[in-house]
Symmetry: C2
Subunit: 130 residues, 2 copies
């Protein structure tokens, strides 16, 4: 269990995702990453032990879940829960700050700003349209 410094919602949120990597992982999920190797392929180059530990923590905190592995897949994919997807507005605000206040930052992909919490954690993940 996460222990909170105080009851402050900001400090408490940071007690969960206020480290160097958690929000970077969630950002990757918002723009489409689902597997361990997707996260390893991020340009930020996270170490494997940190990635494994962060995914476990985010899962324990209920922001991320592992989808059931199906036929022909070694392991399940990672997906945002509704609780995790609820961080999207905060992520977008941080992205806007970076774009506006820091020099020479990348322009994020459309879908980062287009993403909405409701788009995630649908009952069934659609792999291919029928």
């Amino acid at each position: 269990m996460t222990k909170f410094r105080t009851g402050c919602p900001i400090a408490s949120t940071l007690d969960i995702v206020g480290d160097k990597w958690s929000l970077v992982i969630i950002r990757a999920m918002v723009v489409g990453a689902t597997s361990y190797s997707d996260f390893l392929a991020m340009p930020e180059k996270i170490a494997t032990n940190i990635l494994a530990e962060r995914l476990r923590r985010l899962e324990d905190a209920g922001l991320v879940r592992q989808t059931q592995a199906r036929q022909g897949a070694t392991r399940g994919a990672y997906a945002l829960t509704a609780k995790g997807a609820a961080l999207i507005p905060a992520l977008q605000a941080l992205a806007r700050w970076g774009e506006e206040e820091l020099p020479d930052r990348w322009t994020p992909p459309e879908r980062l700003y287009a993403a909405q919490p409701a788009d995630f954690d649908k009952p069934t993940m659609v792999t291919s349209a029928s």
Copy 2:
């Protein structure tokens, strides 16, 4: 100088304020803290060495500035710059997430949600209305 992991605006923003304390300090400034002892009085109980170092870093990053000490004041007060105040929307989004997704969090003071970037970094700080 801060070194960025990549050009990603989210990762870069976190390279500046993505630690356990920076946003807690900025939150305190948004709701009125201005002196070193104001920050030490925060319920989260930051250590003195961390506070001093964070204030220096935030000042170096241009998010915070020290106002000129005037008659009868030992030292100047800390204030948000426009760049620092531009983080307010992100702070509000994090606060909302904490309030909505975590159990039993405090209700932040009105002015946290009422605050706007434009309210800060005015040319002169008004101490009393005339």
